[in-house]
């Protein structure tokens, strides 16, 4: 057991836990967040993505110790305090870009990170970046539309 400090959605957290625990389990179990999902535990599908110091990162393998002192944003942390959704979240709603929605966390987090880095990212760049994010329902076409739309807002 070790004391680990990190910031999650703007709140600093100090937790006593096994430093090898993957960040995903800490977020879901200790902090009771639902956004990041367990998909593969192998960094192959993107369902568990969070934004770590500004960059979309899978959280299912990363030991929590590696997030020490860092800033983690999860899906829950994207909306403003008054509930207004982030433009990417809003675009997903507008385009109804989900079916079962299990992949949606990773899709949204990754898109936010890509557009933060390059607000003018084109379709090819978005496809390239989100290639890690698996969707089994086949909602890709709508997701692409949503992200391209969010780019404009």
């Amino acid at each position: 057991m070790k004391s680990i400090s990190l910031t999650v959605n703007g709140t600093s957290q100090t937790l006593e836990l096994d430093p090898g625990t993957p960040l995903l389990y800490v977020l879901r179990e200790e902090l009771e967040l639902n956004g990041p999902k367990f998909g593969c535990g192998l960094q192959q599908c993107g369902a568990c993505m969070v934004i770590l110091d500004g960059k979309a990162t899978p959280s299912c393998v990363l030991p929590v110790a590696a997030a020490e002192g860092k800033e983690v944003v999860t899906l829950e942390g994207l909306a403003k305090e008054d509930g207004t959704l982030h433009p990417v979240q809003q675009a997903f709603l507008d385009e109804q870009a989900a079916q079962c929605g299990y992949c949606l966390n990773g899709m949204v987090m990754h898109a936010v990170s890509v557009l933060d880095e390059n607000p003018a990212a084109g379709e090819e760049e978005i496809r390239e970046a989100l290639d890690i994010n698996i969707c089994r329902c086949g909602t890709h076409s709508r997701i692409l539309k949503a992200i391209l739309k969010a780019r404009k807002s």
């Binding site: 998909g39 593969c40 369902a47 979240q89 997903f92 290639d131 890690i132 089994r136 086949g138 909602t139």
Partner: protein, 723 residues
């Protein structure tokens, strides 16, 4: 000692804290509605089996079906909203739950609109008429002057809430034939692309899935899997295990072995370490399939002539051309994005299970038999999970959680499979071989058609109460064995071509293959339509007629023709480049449900086929939600393209080797196509199942597109890289 009521209260407080699931909720506990009667049956002939007024004045819509990501919740709310002329905000939805909702069997076969939504529509229209009558009686109004709007009845300057009209009573009358269906006459909510209320919960990261359930003092479980289907547990060295962090206990029954820990990551750690401490008796070797088609045909099978019309010999003798072709598809997995999950607790002699099963009632009966409890002691509540696309491991994980919960009474047990378990242990969609032979006359008309297919079962769902249909059923101490031959009907779904011929023969050979199998979206229709529609293109080429005209020449059904014509219009301007081809595919799902035509523009570069764009047309009769219908169809097209181009389960002599997203590749963003779907709405007709209509047509469109791009006719799936 707590009673059932305290369970309801406890669970209620949790679910309320879990914020959740309403207005689209899967909660009844959170609402002050009827108590759960775990062994009870709900009389589906009563109005209040489908629609109820809750104490807070809101309206609860009830379905015995499950939300699987297909948008069922929204469509069902829409039909109720329409009949009561009341927006979503005043409605909540109760999903399948034993003892609470009607027993609607399995949410499958694209039947929920035809069945559940129509029951809700009728009950809601009945409720409206009763409310109007009662208002008129109670307040001495003319019915004609009254109208239902926004959860109230109004007329002559007064408004009356449903609650005051009914005086706190439910409408327990039996359903009857109402004088009017607003869904047919007004269509203010129905037929509109209303947004899904559940999507906002998803996008905000609110608790929504069974994976998100949390209960105080909940313990986490993982199952330690055998090295093969038929291996048995010989011994386990449990020395030192109790010292592992968070260790709670080991649960063993025969070859079923599970670990329990306080934290989820600890359970995962234990699963890994226990794996190294178990000795297994190796089971039988798995047969290898070096050549898919000959392997499948070599398996012992049970043969049946399913259909024989006309005289093949006569048709063939007068033929100008006889053509034969053999197609095959491999075992394909559901591979849910989120591994299957369930929560269970055994408390006060009752077993409660939260599950993303497609059939809570059949699951209840089968789990009761597995854990040897009377049915009335088992309660299964449906909570959405990751999309399943058919019978995946949802029932298995629920059964395992139940077995484990029985060993640790009083604590909630949460079990989620790991990726390698989901990939390696779910029941797959079976491989099939499809052999077609047809005789064309000199006018390019098909005179006769012979179709012979080979398939394993397409459903081994736990519908008969036999625990052999649940994965742990075969491993527990008193083993229930493995399921027998499944339902033959799945293999021949869409096997008879929709096209007119003078003679047709269908022969099916049902084999028992080496892998665990069950229902995958559209069952045999995917392979049957894929092969029929590719063969139609092969025949069209022989007849020297274009692929649209050739199909239309063999169709009389006007709706079928309208679908193809619409597709032709949509793709008229498409001008494929040299390395591109435009292919089409068409079918009426089950030959009795939705019509769907698909076109695919495929580009082949250095042997790598990429679908650039797809177009779809769907006629599902009365369309409840056009955007929902488009979303389902778009998803079906992309998923089918993925199966067709990339997916095949692999195994060695012991076990499945497709255990993650690298060893089981699927279509990803870089190669996924843009899709566009148009709906032909027929509000005057009944709604038809639509969720599975695109699978077969899309597969054929892709493969036919490859042919036009390259001149290469692919008959064995997946396409992979072209040689």
């Amino acid at each position: 000692m707590s009673t059932r009521r305290t369970f309801i209260k406890q669970a209620g407080s949790i679910t309320v804290g879990f914020s959740l699931l309403g207005p689209l909720a899967c909660t009844t506990e959170a609402q002050n509605s009827a108590p759960i009667i775990p062994g009870g049956q709900v009389d589906e002939n009563k109005i209040d089996a489908w629609i109820k007024l809750l104490d807070d004045g809101s309206i609860q819509v009830i379905t015995g079906k499950m939300e699987l990501g297909q948008g069922l919740s929204t469509a069902i709310l829409q039909v109720a909203a329409e009949e009561l002329n009341t927006p979503f905000e005043k409605l909540s939805l109760q999903l399948a739950e034993t003892g609470v909702t009607p027993d609607e069997g399995i949410t499958a076969g694209s039947r929920s609109m035809e069945t559940s939504a129509m029951s809700v529509r009728q009950a809601s229209a009945c409720l409206r008429e009763i409310l109007l009558e009662k208002t008129a009686e109670k307040y001495a109004n003319e019915i004609a002057s009254l109208q239902v709007e926004n959860g109230q009845v109004s007329g002559a300057g007064n408004t009356y809430s449903f609650k005051e009209i009914l005086d706190g009573e439910q409408v327990e009358k039996s359903v009857f034939e109402p004088t009017e269906y607003y869904g047919k006459t007004r269509r203010k909510f129905v037929g509109q692309p209303l947004k899904r209320p559940d999507l906002e919960k998803m996008v905000r990261g609110e608790a929504f899935y069974v994976q998100d359930l949390r209960f105080p003092n909940m313990v986490h479980a993982r199952v330690v899997r055998p090295p093969s289907y038929t291996a048995s547990l010989k011994s386990i060295d449990d020395s030192g295990l109790a010292d592992s962090p968070g260790y709670v206990k080991l649960v063993r029954s025969g070859s079923f072995l599970a670990v329990l820990a306080e934290k989820e990551s600890q359970a995962v750690g234990l699963q890994r370490s226990v794996k190294g401490k178990v000795t297994w008796d190796t089971g039988q070797e798995l047969k290898q399939a070096d050549d898919l088609a000959s392997f499948v045909k070599s398996l012992p099978s049970d043969t049946n002539v399913d259909e024989e019309t006309g005289d093949w010999a006569d048709a063939a003798s007068g033929a100008a051309i006889t053509l034969e072709a053999t197609y095959a598809k491999p075992w394909v997995m559901h591979a849910a994005n989120g591994p299957s999950c369930a929560v269970a607790i055994f408390e006060d002699d009752q077993l409660h299970i939260w599950s993303h099963s497609q059939g809570v009632y059949p699951l209840r009966e089968t789990i009761a038999n597995l854990v040897k409890l009377p049915q009335e002691k088992v309660h299964v509540k449906g909570v959405p999970g990751s999309g399943c696309y058919g019978h995946n491991a949802a029932d298995d994980v629920a059964a395992e959680a139940a077995l484990i919960a029985m060993e640790i009474p009083g604590r909630h047990v949460r079990l989620q499979w790991m990726r390698e378990e989901e990939h390696g242990w779910e029941p797959y969609g079976t491989a099939m071989v499809m052999e077609h032979r047809a005789a064309l006359d000199s006018n390019g008309k098909i005179q006769g058609w012979q179709y012979e297919l080979w398939s394993d079962a397409h459903s081994t769902r736990p519908t008969s109460g036999d625990p052999a249909n649940l994965l742990p059923g075969r491993y527990v101490e008193a083993s229930f064995g493995t399921p027998g031959q499944g339902w033959r009907g799945g293999a021949i779904r869409n096997a008879p071509p929709i096209y007119q011929t003078d003679a047709f023969t269908l022969t099916s050979h049902i084999f028992e293959g080496p892998l665990r199998v069950s229902a995958l979206r559209s069952l045999g229709a995917y392979a049957n339509v894929f092969s029929i529609e590719c063969f139609m293109d092969e025949l069209a080429e022989k007849a020297d007629v274009d692929v649209f005209t050739f199909r239309m020449n063999h169709l009389q059904d006007e709706r079928a023709i309208a679908c193809l014509e619409r597709l032709q219009e949509m793709t008229q301007e498409v001008n494929p480049a040299d390395n591109q081809g435009l292919g089409i595919g068409f079918a009426r799902y089950k030959n009795s449900a939705s019509y769907c035509a698909v076109a695919a523009l495929v580009e082949v570069t250095d042997g790598n086929p990429v679908v650039k764009q797809m177009w779809g047309v769907i006629d599902a009769g009365e369309c409840i939600n056009p955007d929902g219908l488009k979303n389902q169809t778009e998803g079906g097209m992309i998923q089918s393209a993925s199966w067709t181009l990339k997916e095949a389960v692999k195994w060695n002599d012991q076990h499945i080797t497709s255990v993650d997203w690298q060893s089981y590749p699927m279509l990803r963003f870089k190669e996924v196509s843009i899709v566009e779907v148009e709906v032909i709405d027929r509000p005057e007709l009944p709604p038809l199942g639509a969720g599975e209509a695109a699978q077969g047509p899309a597969a054929a469109a892709v493969v036919n597109g490859i042919y036009f791009a390259t001149g290469k006719r692919v008959r064995i799936l997946p396409v992979g890289r072209l040689g």
